[in-house]
C-alpha cells in the first residue's frame, strides 16, 4: 500500500499554565493528548468535536504552527518535527491552512492582491509577471473577479473573504490544506457556496484536506474519513460511511442526536448529555467521557480505553471505548 501523505503518531500538545512568583508551571492544558491518524493522498479527513476537544490545536500542531510536545508528524515519509527553520520553510509549501474567522484572517491594511501574492513573493517563485498571472488564475479557481485585487479586506463579505483566504492557501500548490472551521462563521446560503469551492479543489485539483468542524452534516459532505475528538483524544475514527451508518462511541451517538434537523417530520429522539464538558486542564481519569456517559461502567473511570478496531482489516473502524474491548481485531 502506498505511503500516506500525512501520518501522525501519538501527537501531544500541552500548554503550560504559569503563575506564582517565578512563573512556575501550575498545570497543563492537555489540548491534544496522544492522537494518531493517517491522511491519504487526495483524501479528506474530517475532524469533528465540540469546543475544547482540541481539534483546532491539532490542526495547527500538524503544521508546526504550535510546536508539538511529543509525537511524530510524517509528511511524505519525512518527520517534519526534526526539520530546522530553513527546511521547514521549504516544506511549508506543501501544507497550508484556511481559517474560520474571515474577519481576522486577512491582513486589514494590505490589498487583496498583495495578500494573495505574498506566498509567491516569500518563496521567490517565478518572475513578478508570472506571479501576477498566477494570482489571476487563483482568483478564477475560487470564483472572484480581478477587481478584488486592488481593494481592502473590509470591503468584502464573509464569504468573499473566505474565498480570498482559500486563494492565498492555494498559491503555493500545497498537497494538503488544514481547513479550520472554514464555513462556521458564514451565513447559511454562503456556506454552501464556499463548500462547493472546497469540493472542487478536492475533485479537480486533488488536494487533500484535514477538515475541522463541529458540524456533522458539513463533515459528512466533504470527508472520506472521519475522526471524532473529545478532550484531546480521538475517540472514534473510521471511513465516513461507516461512522454515519453505525456510530459506535457513545459520544458520537450523542453528538449525532443533538443536531437540530431541519426537517419537521423527523423530530429525533435526543440523547441529552448530563453536565458540561470538563476542563482540559483537569481531564477525568480513565476514559475522558465517563463523567457524561450513560453507559459508563466502573472500569471506565479507572482505565483509559485502548484503541480497538471494531470493523474489519480492509475497512477499519477504530473506537476507544471499553464497550468494545472484546473485539477480535487489534489496531494496525
Amino acid at each position: 500500500m502506498s505511503q500516506p501523505l500525512l501520518k501522525v503518531v501519538n501527537l501531544k500538545k500541552h500548554f503550560p499554565v504559569r503563575g506564582g512568583m517565578f512563573s512556575r508551571v501550575l498545570a497543563k492544558v492537555k489540548a491534544v493528548d496522544g492522537v494518531s491518524f493517517e491522511l491519504g493522498k487526495q483524501r479528506t479527513l474530517g475532524l469533528v468535536g465540540e469546543s475544547g476537544c482540541g481539534k483546532s490545536t491539532l490542526g495547527r500542531t500538524v503544521l508546526r504552527l504550535h510546536e508539538p510536545t511529543a509525537g511524530q508528524i510524517f509528511l511524505d515519509g519525512d518527520d517534519i518535527c526534526t526539520l530546522d527553520r530553513e527546511a521547514l520553510k521549504q516544506r511549508r509549501r506543501d501544507m497550508q491552512i484556511i481559517y474560520q474567522d474571515p474577519y481576522a484572517s486577512l491582513s486589514p491594511r494590505r490589498l487583496i492582491g498583495q495578500t494573495i501574492q505574498e506566498p509567491l513573493d516569500v518563496h521567490k517563485i517565478g518572475t513578478p509577471e508570472e506571479r501576477k498571472k498566477r494570482v489571476e488564475e487563483l482568483l478564477d479557481i475560487v470564483g472572484l473577479r480581478k477587481q478584488v485585487l486592488s481593494r481592502y479586506p473590509h470591503e468584502f463579505s464573509g464569504g468573499q473573504r473566505q474565498r480570498i483566504g482559500i486563494a492565498r492557501a492555494l498559491a503555493l500548490n500545497p498537497s494538503f490544506i488544514v481547513a479550520d472551521e472554514p464555513v462556521s462563521a458564514l451565513d447559511v446560503s454562503v456556506q454552501s457556496q464556499v463548500l462547493n469551492v472546497i469540493s472542487r479543489l478536492q475533485r479537480e485539483h486533488g488536494i487533500a484536506f484535514l477538515f475541522i468542524s463541529h458540524d456533522l452534516a458539513v463533515i459528512q459532505h466533504v470527508s472520506d474519513d472521519v475522526g471524532v475528538m473529545y478532550l484531546g483524544k480521538l475517540v472514534e475514527y473510521s471511513d465516513s460511511g461507516s461512522l454515519y451508518r453505525d456510530p459506535k462511541h457513545p459520544y458520537t451517538r450523542a453528538l449525532m442526536s443533538a443536531i437540530p434537523i431541519p426537517d419537521v417530520r423527523q423530530r429525533a429522539k435526543r440523547i441529552v448529555l448530563a453536565g458540561d464538558i470538563p476542563s482540559p486542564m483537569n481531564p477525568p481519569s480513565g476514559c475522558p467521557f465517563h463523567t457524561r456517559c450513560a453507559e459508563a461502567m466502573p472500569k471506565c473511570s479507572q482505565v483509559v480505553p485502548p484503541r480497538v478496531n471494531a470493523g474489519s482489516a480492509e475497512k477499519p473502524h477504530y473506537v476507544s471505548c471499553h464497550l468494545f474491548d472484546g473485539s477480535p481485531e487489534s489496531p494496525a
Binding site: 447559511v188 446560503s189 456556506q191 459528512q220 419537521v264 435526543r270 458540561d276
Partner: protein, 329 residues
C-alpha cells in the same frame, strides 16, 4: 377583525427602522407586520443583515439611537403602543411584561457583579420585595433552569460558569418576573451542539410552565424545526414568508425559503458532489432594486418581479402569508 385583535398578544404593524450611515439613511426593517399569539413559539429566521435582530430590539425599544430610530409603525402589546410610550413607562415593561435574552451571555452579564446581585436587582426593580425575598425567588429560578446547587452558585460570578450555564442564568433573569413574551436573540448560536440541545429543551419546558410566548430569532433552520410552531422568514428588511413550521418546511412558497432549505448541508444517505446554492449575494441596502429584492437571485423571476416589490399577502390561516408574485406550491 376585532376578535383577532383581542386574541393577539403582540401586534406589529408597518414597522420601519432606519439607521444613519454616511451614504444616507438605510432601512434595516422596512414595513413589516406580524402577530404573535399567547403561548406560542414563533421563529424569526433569516441571514445576516435581514433585520431580524433589529426587529427583536425594536420590540423592547432597545435599538441604539443614534444611529437608529423607529420612523414609523406600531407595536401593540396589551393595548399599549410601545413605539409611543415614554421611556420611563417602557423601562417598567422591560423585564416585566416583555423580556429579552441575547447571544453572548458573557457580555450580557456584568462580569463584576455576582449572579445573585444581578438577579435580585431585576426582581426588586419590578416587584416590591425585600432583599431576602428576592434572593429566594432568584434561587428558585436558578433551580428551575437546571443549575445544580443554586444556593451556592448564586454567589458566583459569570466567569466561573460555562457558556451553557451563563445562558441559563440569563434565561432565569429574563423569566424571573414572569413576562408574557420572551424575545430570544440567537440564544444558542454561541454554544456547542450538545449544550445547545440542553438549553433549547429548557426554553421549551419553561415556556409551558410559565405560559408565555417566545420569539426565537435565529439563522438555524434546524432550531426552528425543532422548537417552533410558526416561523417568519425575513430577507433584506422584509418579511418574505410566514406560516406554520410544517407548511414552511414541506411546502415552502417563497423561492428564498425553498432555496435556503435546499442549500443547508444536512445528513444524507448518499454523499453528493455539489450542494445546491442560491447564487449571488444579498443586495446592498444602500442600492436596492426597484422590484422584489430577491429577484436577481431567483430562478423563477419574471418581468413583473422587477417592477415593484411584492407585498405580504396573507392566506386563509391566521399568521400565514407570502410576499411573492409567483409563489411556489
Amino acid at each position: 377583525m376585532t376578535d383577532e385583535v383581542a386574541k393577539t398578544l403582540l401586534c406589529v404593524r408597518n414597522l420601519v427602522v432606519e439607521f444613519d450611515t454616511r451614504f444616507g439613511p438605510v432601512r434595516a426593517v422596512d414595513d413589516i407586520s406580524f402577530d404573535i399569539f399567547p403561548n406560542e413559539t414563533v421563529g424569526i429566521v433569516g441571514e445576516s443583515g435581514c433585520g431580524k435582530t433589529v426587529t427583536g430590539l425594536s420590540l423592547l425599544r432597545l435599538v441604539p439611537s443614534p444611529p437608529g430610530r423607529i420612523v414609523q409603525g406600531s407595536i401593540i402589546l396589551n393595548g399599549n403602543d410601545l413605539v409611543q410610550l415614554p421611556e420611563n413607562d417602557m423601562a417598567q415593561l422591560r423585564g416585566d411584561d416583555i423580556s429579552m435574552i441575547f447571544q453572548e451571555p458573557m457580555t450580557a452579564l456584568n462580569p463584576v457583579l455576582s449572579l445573585g446581585t444581578q438577579m435580585t436587582d431585576v426582581l426588586r426593580q419590578h416587584r416590591k420585595m425585600t432583599k431576602r425575598e428576592a434572593r429566594n425567588v432568584a434561587i428558585d429560578m436558578l433551580e428551575k433552569v437546571g443549575i445544580p446547587v443554586p444556593e451556592k452558585r448564586i454567589d458566583e460570578y459569570p466567569h466561573e460558569l460555562s457558556g451553557g450555564m451563563r445562558q441559563r442564568v440569563m434565561i432565569a433573569m429574563a423569566l424571573s418576573c414572569n413576562p408574557k413574551l420572551l424575545v430570544a436573540d440567537e440564544p444558542t448560536t454561541a454554544l456547542d451542539v450538545t449544550t445547545q440541545a440542553q438549553v433549547l429543551e429548557q426554553i421549551v419546558e419553561l415556556q409551558e410552565e410559565f405560559h408565555m410566548a417566545v420569539i426565537l430569532i435565529t439563522h438555524d433552520l434546524g432550531v426552528i424545526a425543532e422548537t417552533c410552531q410558526r416561523a417568519i422568514v425575513m430577507y433584506c428588511g422584509n418579511i418574505v414568508e410566514t406560516g406554520t413550521v410544517e407548511d414552511l418546511f414541506q411546502r415552502p412558497r417563497h423561492p428564498y425559503t425553498k432555496g435556503l432549505l435546499e442549500s443547508i448541508p444536512r445528513l444524507r444517505d448518499e454523499r453528493i458532489a455539489e450542494l445546491p446554492i442560491i447564487p449571488g449575494m444579498v443586495p446592498d441596502l444602500l442600492s436596492l432594486p426597484a422590484g422584489c429584492r430577491f429577484a436577481d437571485r431567483c430562478k423563477y423571476a419574471q418581468a413583473d418581479c422587477l417592477q415593484t416589490p411584492p407585498r405580504l399577502e396573507s392566506s386563509g390561516d391566521a399568521g400565514s402569508g407570502v410576499a411573492c408574485y409567483h409563489p411556489l406550491n
